[in-house]
């Protein structure tokens, strides 16, 4: 391997920045203000995630993005040891968890503020926001 190739591989690459689908724009706009907001159906009152423009519980199209508590529990989790993207080379081992929000929907995220070996299923967590770029904040979760 040439020196220049090694330099490229060592150079810190930026983590992927979320590229919102049209239906997710309000979620990311709220996250930017450090608020966790997800769709709730005005017909049946249930929440859902990820965002879409009709309620997956009753198929009504009358809904609004509403603030949620940001509290939940770990439904399941995994610990990445392998580096799949160069920007995460300095992060391994890191935890990706499926967090079940108090309001019901499950959301993929990272668990921060806890060592991977201390993360367990059903562990209570609460949302925190990671400002990853100018105008972009990503919701993550820490032990509650």
């Amino acid at each position: 391997m040439s020196e220049s190739t090694e330099e490229i591989q060592r150079a810190p690459k930026q983590k992927p920045i979320p590229q919102p689908a049209p239906e997710s724009v309000p979620f990311w706009e709220a996250a930017k203000r450090h608020r966790l907001e997800i769709p709730r159906c005005n017909a049946c009152g249930k929440h859902w995630f990820p965002p879409s423009q009709a309620c997956p519980h009753c198929l009504a199209a009358d809904f609004a993005f509403v603030p949620v508590s940001g509290r939940g529990k770990v439904f399941s989790f995994v610990t990445f040891h392998r580096v799949y993207h160069p920007a995460f080379a300095t992060e391994v081992p890191y935890v990706v968890a499926l967090v079940e929000l108090e309001e019901g929907p499950r959301m993929l995220s990272n668990i921060v503020g806890a060592k991977p070996e201390n993360v367990v299923c059903e562990m209570p967590v609460k949302v925190v926001f990671d400002d990853v770029a100018q105008g972009v904040s990503v919701p993550k979760f820490e032990p509650a």
Binding site: F80, Y84, H85
Partner: protein, 393 residues
């Protein structure tokens, strides 16, 4: 629960089965690997290519109009042809659709198969080797995944393993019993990609990939293909190979998502299996050998539970009892499976189910007195499932 048609039970048979070279086959496209497997299946069946009037097939997801390209390479027109989009569940679905097409009079003889060039794709450059990604870039998630460092099928399935371990006390050591059993089977199969023995110490000492999965919990990156030929039971009688009866099939798709409900611990194998058992008129106690879609060790354990070979939560004890080995209660993935033979998205499990039902293997590879084989297919985004039950004629 709907009632599957009993008219399909034993109505069709598999009369040809073949595989291509497996493992590392550089310089051959996935389409040509599939044609290689199809040529082998046609040759052993005693059919001529012009006898084939149906194609149901699949390849890597970025090949558009797959069945059209295969038809062109085989040099045939088809009364009935299509390519499928259910991931690893497609290959059994192809056999099911072929049987239905034949029964409906839309075709007489349908060739089914799948081919991939995943080893070559992921080793064409250093960057590709590191990413190990076979999904086309523009189909990868752009939000709610990559920003968290969440990539790949290993992690998706590992979520199910963690949850199962939490609910039922399942252990990595039990996953290891699956990996070791299938490696033993691969060593009896000269076509298998993996040639060296594997023991539990090596299993535990291997590098972690996405915990709870380590290296040997993960299936292989393979170039390879498999194919089978389906025709009516009557037509099968005059052909070269002992016909293998299609006794039943089923399908179920947990489209609400792997992360929804309990889908990561109770998979769509449950409903797919119930349908197939009903069509075939058999139950789990009648099954002599299973060929289970083993993209990861855990997926074998949970599917064995979902198919009723043991109760939910008891899969760990079941696999650790030695049940999956040759001579065990349910010899499973007797060609080595995707963990140790080659990963061809479940197609080689169909091929192996057929070969076991023919009883033409040497004794060390043959499941003794086997009359019923169950084959499973799992895939898509972990939510699609299909089941095939084969019988000795």
């Amino acid at each position: 629960m709907i009632e599957p048609s009993r008219e399909l039970r034993d109505a069709c048979a598999i009369v040809g089965a073949g595989n291509s070279r497996l493992g590392r086959v550089p310089g051959v496209s996935s389409l040509d690997l599939l044609v290689e497997a199809m040529r082998n299946a046609i040759a052993e069946s005693g059919l001529k290519v012009s006898d084939i009037d149906g194609i149901v097939c699949r390849g890597p997801d970025d090949i558009y109009g797959h069945h059209q390209q295969i038809g062109a390479r085989l040099g045939i027109n088809a009364r009935f042809s299509t390519s499928l989009d259910n991931g690893g569940a497609s290959q059994i679905l192809a056999v099911a659709i072929a049987s239905m097409a034949i029964r409906a009079g839309l075709a007489t003889t349908v060739i089914c198969g799948y081919g991939r060039d995943s080893w070559s794709r992921t080793h064409s450059s250093e960057e590709k080797r590191v990413l190990n990604q076979t999904t086309p870039d523009d189909q990868l998630p752009k939000e709610f995944a990559p920003e968290y460092g969440y990539f790949g099928a290993v992690a998706a399935h590992a979520f199910g393993a963690t949850r199962h371990m939490h609910l039922y006390g399942t252990t990595r050591d039990q996953f290891g019993d699956i990996a070791v059993a299938f490696r033993e089977h691969a060593l009896r199969n000269p076509d298998a990609q993996m040639k060296k023995p594997l023991n539990k110490t090596q299993y535990h000492e291997a590098k972690e990939v996405v915990a709870p999965f380590g290296l040997f919990d993960c299936s292989l990156r393979s170039d390879g293909a498999g194919a089978v030929i389906v025709t009516s039971r009557e037509r099968a009688k005059d052909l070269k190979q002992p016909p293998v009866l299609i006794k039943g099939f089923g399908s179920f798709n947990n489209l609400r998502g792997w992360f929804n409900d309990d889908n990561m611990v109770v998979t769509a194998a449950k409903q797919s299996g119930e349908t197939a058992y009903k069509m075939a008129g058999v139950g789990p106690d009648d099954v002599d050998t299973a060929q289970i879609y083993d993209c990861f060790t855990y997926m074998v354990l949970t599917q064995l539970e979902d198919y009723g070979f043991c109760k939910k939560g008891e899969g760990g004890a079941f696999v650790s009892s030695g049940a999956l080995r040759m001579g065990g209660r349910l010899p499973t993935n007797t060609s080595g499976g995707q963990l140790s033979e080659a990963h061809v998205e479940g197609m080689l499990q169909v091929v192996e189910g057929v070969r076991q039902m023919r009883h033409t293997y040497p004794a060390e590879r043959q499941v003794e007195d086997a009359e019923i084989a169950l084959v499973s297919g799992h895939g898509g985004n972990q939510v699609c499932h299909s089941t095939l039950i084969l019988g000795k004629a």
